[in-house]
């Protein structure tokens, strides 16, 4: 029973990590969004698995459905023709930037991992018995790294969402599914959805008005002049 649970958790954790990473680092935006939906669904499962059906429901509704819709709206899939839809992230980062972000993400991974390690020392589990937690740390660190790395607005929004899920996962992992934790996560999910919605609206609006799809180097006169 435990082993099967473990196996399921490990699978879930792996699935989460893989979908998250795919979502974060796929330059093809539509695909990334699809991965995100997949990730959200996996999260729903994970919540279920962790024994928080309420959260699972919220995640399904807010995370997978509504947020996913937001992303596709932002991609311009609903009202095509109003303005060009987004396909690919065409920014090329200098390798130094990527490298720095990688290092930062690793460092965060270590830091958060260490913190978790300290938090749960008095628990019976060791971290490797908590695959979801490990996945949470992994997702958090890489999402943050990706967030800092990307410039494309949609990808940053995606990264933010993934990051949020990772954080929620960690929260649930370390704090269990107590009422407080559930409340925090619920609020967080709502906020994430609201934020994503706002972000999606903004992205569309920006595309519509100016064709801006990224927070480019702000040294450019566009933002400077005003």
């Amino acid at each position: 029973m435990i082993a099967s649970f473990d196996a399921l958790e490990i699978l879930l954790a792996l699935g989460l990590t893989v979908t998250a990473l795919a979502c974060l680092f796929d330059r093809h935006l539509v695909r990334a969004c699809c991965f995100f939906v997949a990730f959200a669904l996996a999260m729903t499962l994970a919540w279920w698995q962790l024994g928080a059906p309420w959260l699972a429901a919220v995640e399904l509704l807010l995370g997978a459905v509504l947020t996913g819709l937001c992303f596709f709206y932002a991609l311009g899939r609903f009202f095509p023709g109003v303005s060009s839809s987004l396909e690919r992230d065409s920014f090329n980062e200098p390798w130094s930037r990527s490298f720095a972000r990688l290092l930062l993400a690793l460092a965060w991974f270590v830091m958060v991992g260490a913190a978790i390690r300290y938090v749960i020392t008095d628990m019976v589990y060791s971290p490797d018995e908590q695959p979801l937690l490990l996945a949470g740390v992994m997702i958090t660190a890489s999402a943050l790294g990706a967030f800092a790395l990307h410039r494309h607005l949609l990808r940053r929004l995606l990264a933010f969402n993934i990051l949020g899920s990772g954080v929620f996962m960690l929260l649930a992992g370390v704090a269990g599914t107590s009422a407080s934790a559930q409340a925090l996560i619920t609020v967080g999910l709502c906020i994430a959805w609201l934020g994503s919605m706002l972000g999606a609206l903004l992205i569309r609006q920006l595309l519509h008005l100016e064709g801006v799809d990224a927070l480019g180097r702000d040294g450019n006169p566009k933002e400077n002049a005003t």
Partner: protein
């Protein structure tokens, strides 16, 4: 440190009238905002009418605090305990919020009427209401969950308000702000997760009792610190600030610069004082960044060409003043006297800056509105035509410069003394340099305004009262310098 934040048991239970006042203070702005979204006010008087209960609630809370000392509220909702507390500092910040909020609200109709009509402008009202409610909640909340909720509400409504002007630059800046704010709160949430996981509770009072130094507390503090620093636009994460301010509507900028970033700072200080009561280096890192912020913000404001960027960059520098005080507030080896001085100076500076910055943004907004130019060069000749707006700007900038008799001066005096007692020479140098830099950019602006050689252009007349509101804010900041005793006594009453 803990008692200063009012994290201890109260002697008296709040009265019924106090309950009502609390409800009004927290809920009324939001309700009125909704109402205003349905029926957008075109004049000042309906807004004033709606503001009256809010101010009255603030007054009731103040007198309740005066009589009973610390007040606490606690609710258990579905296993989650939410708690609020009202101590001197909360009252003070609450009153500040209400006054500035009311001023901004009163300023809004005129400002909206004069600027080009926007389809979304009616949404400003509910957002402003949410913002004020959330701010009030932040000052009062004494558990991490409520704080988180309030923080997020505040952040989202602030982003929403900033976006309303609809310009591309505003949208871009708003997008950046949105993303960074969200990520910042996630970092905060991560910290909270660690705390919750380790100690299993979220109420600050309980935490203050159980927290002991250890890796969890440290890492949680680091995460919370970094997240809130990002939201509070502390150097070097301030980059998003000036584009945001530069493009938003005037009352929005005023509220944002005066209160929103301060709320994050308030939380940062509060949580750190629980998590890191005795650390040496972390506050010093913040202080170091603060020094850099003072210089950097000053330089930015000095060299900029746009009036709003000037005001926004000055916020960065002013936050630096607050940052350099951190070692005095949190360090392990600070004697009680300098700590008390620093504490008073910190809040006086914060409140003074809030009023002054709000006034400054309004004055700058008036100038921009009237001249139709947002650059400094466009101000040429305004000293002749718009003396009052310029005077308000001047009075507000006196506070920023920390020249007497403004609150900035009194705060600086207190801070300097605290720093001298604890021999923090670098901080002293930073504070004094900041004064000079502030003077440099403020008078650079005045230099343009006194230039009479420029050609005249057409000035748009301002709506009645727009200047007066700003003036009242500026004078409040000014008068707080001499009347600081009363405000600080309020704060001191919160504890032993």
């Amino acid at each position: 440190m803990i008692w200063r934040f009012g994290l201890f048991e109260s002697t008296f239970a709040p009265l019924v009238s106090t309950h009502w006042a609390l409800c009004i203070a927290l809920g009324f702005p939001f309700l009125m905002g909704l109402l205003a979204a349905l029926f957008p006010p075109k004049r000042m008087w309906p807004v004033a009418l709606a503001c009256l209960p809010v101010l009255a609630s603030g007054w009731v809370l103040l007198s309740a605090y005066d009589q009973a000392g610390l007040l606490r509220w606690q609710w258990d909702v579905a296993g989650v305990s939410l708690s609020l507390r009202l101590n001197g500092l909360s009252v003070l910040l609450l009153l500040t919020t209400q006054w500035i909020g009311v001023a901004a609200a009163l300023y809004t109709p005129g400002s909206l009427r004069l600027s080009e009509p926007q389809p979304l402008s009616r949404w400003l009202w509910p957002l402003m209401g949410v913002l004020l409610s959330a701010l009030s909640l932040i000052w009062l909340a004494s558990d991490l969950l409520t704080l988180y909720v309030a923080l997020e509400l505040m952040g989202l409504s602030a982003v929403g308000m900033l976006l309303l002007s609809g310009k591309v630059a505003a949208l871009l800046a708003g997008m950046r702000y949105l993303l960074l704010a969200l990520v910042g709160s996630l970092a905060y949430l991560l910290g909270v997760a660690l705390i919750l996981g380790h100690w299993g509770r979220l109420d600050l009072q309980g935490l203050a009792a159980v927290v002991e130094p250890g890796p969890v507390a440290w890492i949680a503090a680091a995460l919370i610190g970094a997240g809130l620093a990002l939201k509070a636009a502390l150097f070097p994460m301030h980059g998003w600030l000036s584009p945001v301010h530069g493009n938003a509507w005037t009352p929005v900028s005023a509220l944002h610069a005066a209160l929103v970033i301060k709320a994050s700072l308030f939380m940062l200080l509060q949580l750190w004082s629980i998590l890191l009561p005795d650390t040496f280096y972390a506050p010093r890192v913040i202080a170091l960044l603060g020094m850099l912020a003072i210089v950097w913000g000053g330089l930015l404001a000095w060299r900029t060409d746009s009036l709003k960027t000037l005001v926004a960059s000055s916020t960065v520098a002013q936050l630096g003043y607050l940052m350099v005080v951190f070692p005095l507030l949190l360090g392990p080896d600070i004697a009680p006297l300098p700590r008390a001085l620093a504490w008073e100076g910190f809040w006086l500076q914060l409140i003074g800056h809030a009023f002054a910055k709000a006034a400054m943004f309004m004055a700058a907004g008036n100038l921009i509105l009237a001249t139709g130019e947002s650059t400094l060069k466009g101000l040429a000749g305004t000293s002749r035509r718009l003396p009052l707006s310029l005077l308000i700007f001047g009075v507000a900038s006196v506070t920023l410069m920390g020249l007497p008799p403004s609150s900035g001066f009194t705060a600086k005096w207190l801070l300097l003394e605290a720093m001298l007692i604890s021999q923090q020479w670098w901080a002293v140098a930073a504070l004094l340099t900041g004064t000079l830099l502030t003077a440099a950019y403020v008078f650079r602006m005045f230099r343009y305004s006194f230039d009479d050689s420029a050609p005249r252009h057409h000035y748009q007349p301002l709506a009645p009262g727009m200047d007066l509101i700003a003036l009242s804010l500026a004078l409040t900041a000014f008068g707080l310098g001499l009347l600081a005793h009363f405000t600080l006594a309020l704060m001191r009453g919160g504890g032993v």
